[in-house]
């Protein structure tokens, strides 16, 4: 046997003789490897046929996908094995070339830009200045249709909802909510009448109505009339990132936001007692009219939902 080291030293691709060991297959037993690859290709092709049949026969997605997987994987394995074991084993070597050009080329390039171009600017300062200014104005102007036309200005939109004085609280089907609908420990999602069908209305006006007692309930000073017969209305928009706070634990008296687990204490005005929410859920002032319907006294007294720059 010839010495092993030379056979495994990298050689260049060019100028190799045909019987050079670097061009031999890497496998010690190429015939056996070829048989295995043949098997892979044949089996892969059969899977390919299975894919066609599965498609025509409209079989389950897993059969379709499994057939595709088998076909692709087996063909791929065969091809990799061909490349790895039956093709010239190498290793081959190639020289790198320095990227860097000569110093003269570098100077010439720099000179072209700095001297020719720079000189241009220096000689015609007024022209370049005016042109730059004009392009600057145009660029600024081009931003306007790109950005401003996309949508309206926010103005005061984020500060109000659609709840008004005497709005009826309705559930998702549009049915007005009666005080008798709710037992102690009940919860229902309500909207101002007319807004339950609109996505924008739902997004902003969503309110949870819960019942904590059968007597009038005060959450904090100044809100004595806001909890008639134990009904409390809080904005369903979490003050963290705006997810609906639909998770009510009636014994722990907590409203939990499912997104990032902020927990709001229902009894004292939905003050957050755990989690990332920074502010209590705004409480909607409600009253119960003579027929027993739940209605709003006014809009929320503060903007609902997460914080933003203009929010005081």
């Amino acid at each position: 046997m010839s010495s092993g080291i030379e056979n495994h030293t990298p050689v260049s691709l060019r100028g190799l003789s045909a019987d050079d060991p670097h061009l031999q297959p890497a496998a010690r037993n190429p015939e056996r490897v070829e048989k295995v690859i043949v098997f892979n290709f044949v089996l892969g092709t059969l899977f390919g046929f299975l894919f066609i049949v599965a498609y025509i026969q409209n079989w389950q997605p897993w059969i379709l996908g499994g057939a595709m997987a088998g076909c692709l994987t087996l063909l791929g394995i065969g091809l990799i094995a061909w490349g790895k074991y039956l093709m010239p084993r190498g290793p081959f070597v190639e020289d790198r070339h320095e990227f860097r050009n000569s110093d003269e080329d570098r100077s010439a390039f720099a000179a072209a830009i700095v001297q020719r171009g720079g000189g241009l600017v220096k000689r015609r300062k007024l022209l370049t200045g005016l042109f730059a200014g004009g392009m600057g104005v145009f660029s600024l102007g081009a931003v306007f249709p790109l950005l401003r036309s996309l949508g309206p200005l926010p103005k005061g939109t984020l500060f109000h909802t659609d709840w008004r004085k005497d709005s009826y609280a309705v559930d998702i089907t549009g049915r007005r909510v009666l005080v008798g609908d709710l037992a102690v420990g009940s919860i229902v999602t309500v909207f101002p009448e007319g807004q339950q069908d609109t996505e924008n209305g739902q997004a902003v006006d969503q309110t949870v109505l819960i019942r904590v007692s059968n007597q009038d309930f005060t959450t904090m000073k100044g809100r004595e009339t806001w909890g008639p017969q134990g009904l409390l209305a809080y904005s369903k928009l979490c003050t963290h990132l705006g997810c609906p706070v639909g998770l009510y634990e009636q014994q722990l008296q907590l409203l939990v936001c499912p997104c990032h687990q902020s927990m709001f204490n229902v009894n004292n005005g939905a003050v957050p007692q755990f989690g990332p929410a920074p502010r209590p859920l705004p409480q909607l002032p409600i009253y119960i009219d003579a027929d027993g319907y739940v209605r709003a006294q006014s809009d929320y007294r503060e903007p609902v939902g997460p914080g933003f720059w203009e929010r005081a």
């Binding site: 037992a183 420990g185 639909g246």
Partner: protein, 297 residues
């Protein structure tokens, strides 16, 4: 003489009035129970659309409801059996008169069961949560029931006999229910705690919303109406038809989800998908890469 008989009559009349008006009072708002930790509130009945109300000879309502759900009181013949079973299994924590036991140890009060309605008792016992496997746990978890369905009904019958209350044991009629309405209502009312796939999840302070898989229809209806533990109760704000729709949705598409895409990966969503994608996807491919490439000299 006349005045005394008048007095007697008026007193008798007023007693009669109170006794007959009792069920009516119970139909309206439930009584307020003092808020104590882990104390279940008095159940409020109030099914606003009971087309059918069946009373027995004494004028006591034995069943009510409509074509969507019928609510039946447990049979009075079970009361004696129920009393015996209660004393064996429940009295040690809930008291011999089902009045509850004040704070014992570190777990708070064992709640009073009087006046909670048969559906409440039946739910807790038939789902295996009671008798409690570990009374010190914050929330009793669902288990294989220790008492059979009929034993559970018996206990419910006896407790209810102490102070008759609502709601009764529901029997949902799934034939008339709509899964489309059920899906919509489930998404709005139930998914926030139980997840949209009904897998359940952890809530605050060691409480849990349980998985909704493989629960009998009547238990789902009971849970909706009574609001067990920390679950809110849905009384007047969900009609019987709506509750029936939710029950059908939960017992069909939640319990047996359609997974045409393959393995459901536990219904955990992107968490499980990320694990599989990285471990099986990138991992397996990296192993292939290990074969394709060479190893370091």
């Amino acid at each position: 003489m006349m005045i005394r008989s008048l007095l007697k009559r008026s007193v008798l009349l007023s007693i009669l009035g109170v006794v007959s008006a009792g069920p009516l009072v119970l139909f309206s708002q439930g009584a307020d129970a003092a808020k104590q930790p882990y104390q279940t509130q008095r159940a409020n009945s109030g099914t606003p659309n009971s087309d059918v109300v069946v009373k027995n000879a004494n004028g006591v309502v034995t069943s009510y409801g409509n074509s969507s759900i019928m609510y039946n009181a447990p049979s009075p013949s079970l009361i004696n059996l129920g009393r015996a079973l209660y004393m064996q299994n429940c009295a040690s924590c809930h008291g011999t008169e089902a009045n509850g036991v004040p704070a014992g140890g570190s777990s708070g009060a064992y709640p009073a069961l009087v006046g909670l309605g048969p559906a409440t008792i039946n739910f807790w016992v038939s789902s295996g949560r009671m008798p409690a496997a570990d009374p010190r746990q914050v929330q009793a978890m669902r288990q294989k029931p220790r008492l059979s369905d009929s034993q559970s009904l018996a206990i419910a019958a006896w407790v209810n006999s102490l102070a008759p209350s609502y709601p009764y044991i529901p029997t949902p009629n799934l034939a008339t229910a709509s899964v489309k309405n059920g899906a919509e209502l489930f998404a709005l009312n139930c998914a926030a705690c139980h997840t949209i796939e009904g897998m359940g999840d952890a809530l605050a302070s060691n409480t849990y919303a349980p998985s909704l898989h493989n629960i009998p229809a009547y238990q789902v209806a009971e849970a909706i109406r009574i609001g067990p533990g920390n679950m809110p109760r849905f009384t007047g704000n969900l009609s019987d038809a709506q509750a029936d729709d939710i029950v059908k949705f939960v017992t069909t598409y939640i319990s047996h989800p359609q997974n045409p895409g393959g393995l459901g990966l536990g219904g955990l969503g992107p968490v499980a998908e990320g694990f599989i994608g990285l471990a099986l996807g990138v991992g397996v491919l990296a192993i292939f890469g290990f074969w394709v490439g060479e190893r370091e000299e």
